[in-house]
């Protein structure tokens, strides 16, 4: 009887907890910010331009309802640059131009910033492909904004500071990251430079590694003379650009072949799903190269990643050992109480523990590992994937140096703890980490 009751109650309890979880997630998204931590933050005013759907407020400076031609007439004097741009665009051509009002609305006090959904009114196929990317999970363009605001550091840091993040992560919320306003040119987005505003810098040196490769060198030397109105298909370009490989055939998503997931975590490259992705790469490279050659390059990339993860895991093991021996100083509960850190004070070590936020408010050894994982390893990965052999060597040299640094720092921490114990020392370092001009400001203004 009792057993039957338990069997009956179990599914009910499961159902209740799933619905409670669902309600909690919905509740957590109901704050002034957006995403899972929306109740912890309010946006900086400028965020309305990066995430218009959530935060844009229409201007109240001018009232009235205007026909497209009138918009152009007035703005010719007010903002001549964008009108000139629009005039040179495809939108202005033909008998039935796409006017300002078609995308922004015509009531000046109800104006909106065009989101991908607005562009989808005409560019449905591209928009569908863009949305479809979500099924491949992170990292992706379409999920980029959620990724940004759901990171603990977005809630933790002053909102003016983390506006830098959403400038790139707005690739999910606007189309002009690649098709710059108000020309919205497909040809511009086909060029490699169109991607480098975001795909550059220490964690993703896509620009440097591509430009250093044979493909990039050809592009730099001859690209300006190629016909960029041609679609991204076999035979149209002498060397591939970012878009040729990652958005082949003009497909508006980049995760379709994403095998190593940005190099952020280790994957098994030989699952059946990954064999499908690998096949897609080989087919694409075969536009110009022999299939055998393409297969070989991908195997080399697997080898590079295996070597990288071997080094990364060595560092991770050292850090986790220090953590279990309680030797990381300052430990998580000795640090200033950032909102997300105080939820569960624990040192974040490794991808699945939220390593991506372990770059501030951490001890030196954790920051060392963050740089090894996010800068050195990803630099090597991007070099390997883009065919920049010197970059691979440099990345692995840096990883080895980081590993040495982490090892000697770990040794020092152990030595210090030992000396302290033998001599019964306990120098007071509590004030050192918990106050300062920025730390105090952040406590009040995050």
């Amino acid at each position: 009887m009792r057993r039957r009751l338990i069997l009956l109650l179990l599914p009910v309890a499961a159902l209740l907890s799933v619905s409670a979880g669902f309600v909690y997630v919905q509740w957590s998204k109901g704050g002034p910010g957006s995403g899972l931590y929306s109740r912890y933050w309010s946006p900086d005013p400028v965020q309305g331009y990066w995430d218009p759907d959530n935060f844009y407020r229409s201007p109240d400076s001018v009232s009235g309802v205007f026909d497209g031609k009138l918009c152009v007439q007035c703005h010719e004097g007010i903002t001549p640059g964008i009108v000139a741009d629009w005039r040179a665009s495809r939108h202005a051509r033909g008998d039935n131009p796409v006017y300002c009002s078609n995308c922004h609305g015509s009531d000046h006090q109800q104006l909106h910033m065009p989101t991908p959904l607005v562009c989808a009114n005409c560019h449905e196929k591209q928009h569908d492909a863009f949305l479809d990317e979500a099924r491949y999970g992170f990292p992706s363009h379409v999920l980029a904004m959620e990724r940004a605001v759901d990171a603990p550091h977005f809630a933790d840091k002053p909102k003016a500071e983390v506006q830098s993040c959403v400038q790139c992560h707005s690739v999910a919320t606007k189309c002009d990251s690649c098709h710059t306003r108000h020309r919205f040119d497909a040809a511009e987005a086909r060029r490699s430079e169109a991607c480098i505003t975001c795909h550059s810098g220490p964690p993703h040196p896509d620009d440097e590694t591509y430009f250093a490769s044979a493909h990039g060198q050809l592009y730099l030397a001859e690209g300006k003379n190629w016909d960029w109105s041609k679609p991204l298909i076999k035979g149209n370009y002498r060397a591939p650009t970012c878009a040729y490989c990652h958005m082949d055939g003009g497909r508006h998503q980049v995760a379709h072949k994403s095998l190593w997931k940005f190099g952020l975590r280790e994957i098994n490259p030989h699952t059946s799903q990954n064999s499908v992705l690998r096949r897609r790469w080989i087919d694409l490279c075969s536009d110009c190269h022999e299939e055998r050659q393409a297969t070989q390059w991908l195997t080399e990339l697997d080898g590079e990643r295996k070597a990288a993860w071997h080094k990364l895991y060595q560092a991770e093991t050292m850090l986790k050992k220090l953590r279990s021996d309680d030797l990381i100083r300052p430990s998580a509960d000795e640090r200033p109480d950032y909102p997300m850190g105080s939820l569960w004070p624990r040192e974040r070590i490794g991808f699945f523990e939220g390593q991506a936020s372990a770059f501030y408010n951490v001890s030196a050894i954790e920051r060392d590992y963050f740089e090894m994982w996010y800068f050195d390893s990803l630099g090597a990965y991007k070099s390997a994937a883009h065919g920049d052999a010197a970059g691979v060597r440099e990345g692995h040299r840096k990883m080895a140096a980081s590993l040495d640094r982490i090892e000697s720092r770990a040794g020092r921490l152990r030595q210090l703890a030992k000396t302290a114990k033998e001599n019964e020392l306990s120098p007071d370092l509590s004030g050192l980490w918990s106050s300062g001009a920025y730390t105090d400001h952040n406590r009040e203004h995050n």
Partner: protein
């Protein structure tokens, strides 16, 4: 009959010419030849023609004490002078490193690179003439030879320049955010400098290096917001400052420990 008319026309032109002549300065009578010109020759003619221009240049950071002259940016030939000085490559010859890299990877810089040959560089540096601003469009706007983005010109001019393409509210919000980002970077700089000042070996090589690193990363934030480069604002800016603070604290922690009684020096 025709000969008479031609003669009359010639005398009319001569008479008109005589009337105009006294009102016109010497340079108009003799259109400039191709050159080459020296800096002194340029200034000689152009100061007479546009004294304000020379004044602007003299009081700017490109003034006489910089060792630069007109030909440094304009070259020494007349026909290409304006186009040469307006193009980014001329500025990046000296302003290399983060200053030009932060711009080159920004959307403005990218478009400028891609449309270098399509852009008509003969057009004056005014709203509506350029798809995207090059260095000169913002810093020498409307041909002003002082730096039009320099702080001493006040925010109105900077806002006006950007508002040639962007809505006034967008410009206002961007500048306000830039100011806040810089204030945050300054707080980190202040925090780091104060920490360094607390210890006796604050002037050691390692500590001086960390102090310089703070300054360097704070400047990256400035380049980032000024040139609208997310990467300079972020990975090369704010989190790099966070790293400086971590490393300063770690070094101080070690030095405190070393000084604790019983610990060997």
């Amino acid at each position: 009959m025709q000969a008479v008319s031609a003669g009359r026309l010639a005398s009319l032109i001569f008479l008109l010419g005589m009337l105009v002549m006294p009102a016109t300065p010497a340079w108009a009578a003799a259109p400039a030849t191709e050159g080459p010109y020296t800096d002194k020759e340029c200034t000689g003619c152009h100061t007479e023609r546009d004294p304000e221009l020379t004044r602007q240049l003299r009081s700017s950071r490109h003034g006489p004490e910089s060792g630069l002259g007109c030909t440094s940016c304009h070259g020494d030939r007349h026909s290409a002078a304006v186009i040469k000085a307006r193009q980014n490559s001329t500025c990046s010859g000296c302003h290399e490193g983060p200053a030009s890299h932060s711009y080159a990877t920004s959307k403005h810089g990218v478009i400028s690179t891609l449309e270098l040959t399509e852009q008509d560089w003969r057009k004056p540096l005014e709203g509506g003439n350029y798809r995207t601003p090059g260095c000169s469009y913002c810093h020498l706007h409307d041909g002003n030879h002082g730096d039009t983005m320099a702080l001493e010109h006040g925010p109105e001019l900077r806002h006006w320049i950007c508002a040639g393409c962007h809505s006034p509210r967008y410009v206002r919000e961007q500048f306000a955010n830039a100011k806040r980002q810089l204030e945050i970077a300054d707080l980190k700089l202040e925090e780091g400098s104060a920490l360094i000042a607390t210890i006796s070996d604050g002037k050691s090589d390692a500590m001086s290096e960390l102090g310089r690193s703070l300054q360097h990363h704070r400047k990256n934030v400035l380049y980032g917001v000024g040139h609208q480069s997310p990467d300079y604002q972020w990975w090369l800016g704010q989190p790099a400052l966070d790293s400086d603070l971590i490393r300063i604290r770690e070094a101080i922690g070690r030095s405190i420990f070393r000084k604790a009684p019983g610990e060997e020096q």
